[in-house]
Point group: C2
Chain length 452, copies 2
Amino acid sequence: MARIKPHTLSGFMELLPADEMRMERFLDTLRRSYALYGFTPLDTPVIEAADVLLAKGGGETEKQIYRFMKGDTDLALRFDLTVPLAKYVALHYGELTFPFRRFQIGKVYRGERAQRGRFREFYQADIDVIGDGKLDIMNEAEIPAVIYRTFTALGLERFVIRVNNRKVLNGFFAALDLTDRAGDVMRTIDKLDKIGPDKVEAILTGELGVDPDRARRIMEFISCPGGTEDKLAFLEQYRGRNETFDAGLTELATVVEYLGAFGVPREYFAVDLTIARGLDYYTGTVYETTLTDHPEIGSICSGGRYDNLAAYYTDKTLPGVGIAIGVTRLFYVLQEQGMLSEDVLTAPAEAVVIPMDRECVAAAVRCATALRDAGIRTQVYFEDRKFKQKIAYADKAGIPFSLIIGGNEAAAGVVGLKDMAAGEQETLSPEAAAEKINLALAERRAGRLISG
Amino acid sequence: MARIKPHTLSGFMELLPADEMRMERFLDTLRRSYALYGFTPLDTPVIEAADVLLAKGGGETEKQIYRFMKGDTDLALRFDLTVPLAKYVALHYGELTFPFRRFQIGKVYRGERAQRGRFREFYQADIDVIGDGKLDIMNEAEIPAVIYRTFTALGLERFVIRVNNRKVLNGFFAALDLTDRAGDVMRTIDKLDKIGPDKVEAILTGELGVDPDRARRIMEFISCPGGTEDKLAFLEQYRGRNETFDAGLTELATVVEYLGAFGVPREYFAVDLTIARGLDYYTGTVYETTLTDHPEIGSICSGGRYDNLAAYYTDKTLPGVGIAIGVTRLFYVLQEQGMLSEDVLTAPAEAVVIPMDRECVAAAVRCATALRDAGIRTQVYFEDRKFKQKIAYADKAGIPFSLIIGGNEAAAGVVGLKDMAAGEQETLSPEAAAEKINLALAERRAGRLISG
């Protein structure tokens, strides 16, 4: 037979079973954490009409899009989960209850140039709160709590949720009479971490034509030292010069004020005046989250407040706030950094029942049924191999418990329970074995995916 | 601004939030049930190289496929989960432990003619056990247990797992010297339920040129009456005429023998000699599952044993057994039949905390944090509306509990817990409220998705 060489496209993640178990744990933790905040799960098609998906048009994204004809229909694969959300809310507006809180975890597609750690198919995990006409600032204050609980549930310990407010920046630039260049200035500031203050100032005074005095004031502003309280105090000095600035500062102070009530420890939070988020889309609070020990990774969870989600589809004003986690890339990076815990159960099963020979198969099956009834993920090793090979299977598959049933055990209605790591074996009833396994695994089942 | 009319492509399911909650419950139940049998979760790309996906080539499927170029690369969207599995096992052969047990739940794509209840993007939920060189018959015996537990966990009560064995059919036809027409004969038999015995016999003696005597013997064979034991006894009469038949009968008897040990009640199981499964691919046990009260729906879970999974990719012999559930279509049908339970929680949250005014917001947030810590899916209603409108939100969103906090409650550190269905309200601490909610919801959380 003519054979095709099997391969997986580059830029597409395909994990081996143990890593896939870790990924499932990752996704499941996100689902649970998002759901805890009353976000409802949503699922939209991967394929949409190209005119719908590209209503906004534009730029870099459009070049990367997977777009094709099927019959007479011009189709495209979604490149993010925000455009499908905008479509969904505009389309089903009358059937939704506002504020509408949804999360969506799904694959999106971007035909980027393939390179290490960049993916063309990747999971994104988004939450958004959409208001009908207006949306209270408290929704922005709640977002850090979701981020904190989510990453903590994953096991991350050293991360910082960085927050800024676009009104503060816009107002500051307006006060400096730089509104016409605010977008360019913000995009430049956004690069501070990457290129350093000197280069930022050089671009401001060079390319952007900001005079040295105002450039110095911008640098002073974004370099403001100290913790959250110091920064708020620093910003208070500017109050009264610009209305937008004042509104933004009040919002920022509100977000800070409620951290404690939301259960976010202060050390996980920072006001960072350099965060602008490239997109012109954001209008209020903006968020970035960085790993304390790996700043080079950049933000692992970003988002912000926007004033109009679905202007391309409806005349309804739909303000919202949302964040997104680029799951596939983050998972890849955590894997590369060795930060995925070795303690998480990654075997296909928690127990494997091994009948010594054909006569013991019925007893083995009954034992497996009892274990499954007790909630234990169980296999039976049915293959006709030597005993040594059967045990070698349990070992190679990394299954933590094996239950061995020979003629004597079958006759007596008991099993030989072997803890594969400890190497110890004891004889007991299937029900007692189930209890023992559940007890022994309780801690590992609850264990966190990420260590450190 | 120029607006695009938002729409979702026909043949693509997009659910409103309450139904999406039901779908999530469906998928989650499948995941848990499959995992309980020691199948490991797998995820493969939606996009594959067209030459890999179409290695087998052929027929109806190829016309339906979504295929397109991106740059110089010829791509296609997966149309099932079996071909990606074959590729995966061939590609990662050296890194897998056999028998390899995997489940995969994911979207697949077929550009079928759009019609009611047919989808172009749909979830399929597959399990397969793949052997390296050989695979014990007991793996085929275990499949009915997985089907039984899965549908029972969903809440289905009246369904039958129908089983046949291709060797029994092949051997029977060989004994009649009809091997050259066995494929056509089986495809005809497969239509028995749809077109009736007279038409089947007419096709056999007409189109297929089977002489009347042998046609009568075929009809007698497939019309064999009685229950499972009667059918096995009936088949025993044929033993000794053909080796393949004898092997198949022994396999079928084995599958029946272990039902009890696997915990499958007899009334959920039937030997059905008319099941051939159209695909030439199957070589041993074949399965179909039908709803007792809705035979018109056809099989809701089908599959069988095959001798070589990945012949197009590798010279390794990889026999296996697997089943698939067409989730999206099944969900649609259950919805249409009114079989989805109304008791399942479908609200975005289980509780909503409502601060009476701005001053109570911090207390409301603290209360919500306490509820979330207790595992309760909780929203806070932050919008500045009249109290009546706030309560109307909880009502409209279908959230079962609201917790009202006014100035007095905030000062005393208590909340007014309102059971929205009962209309009763009582005052207690946030922790006591959490306990009460968890207790009240325990039953509904455990409730089955399908009623009847």
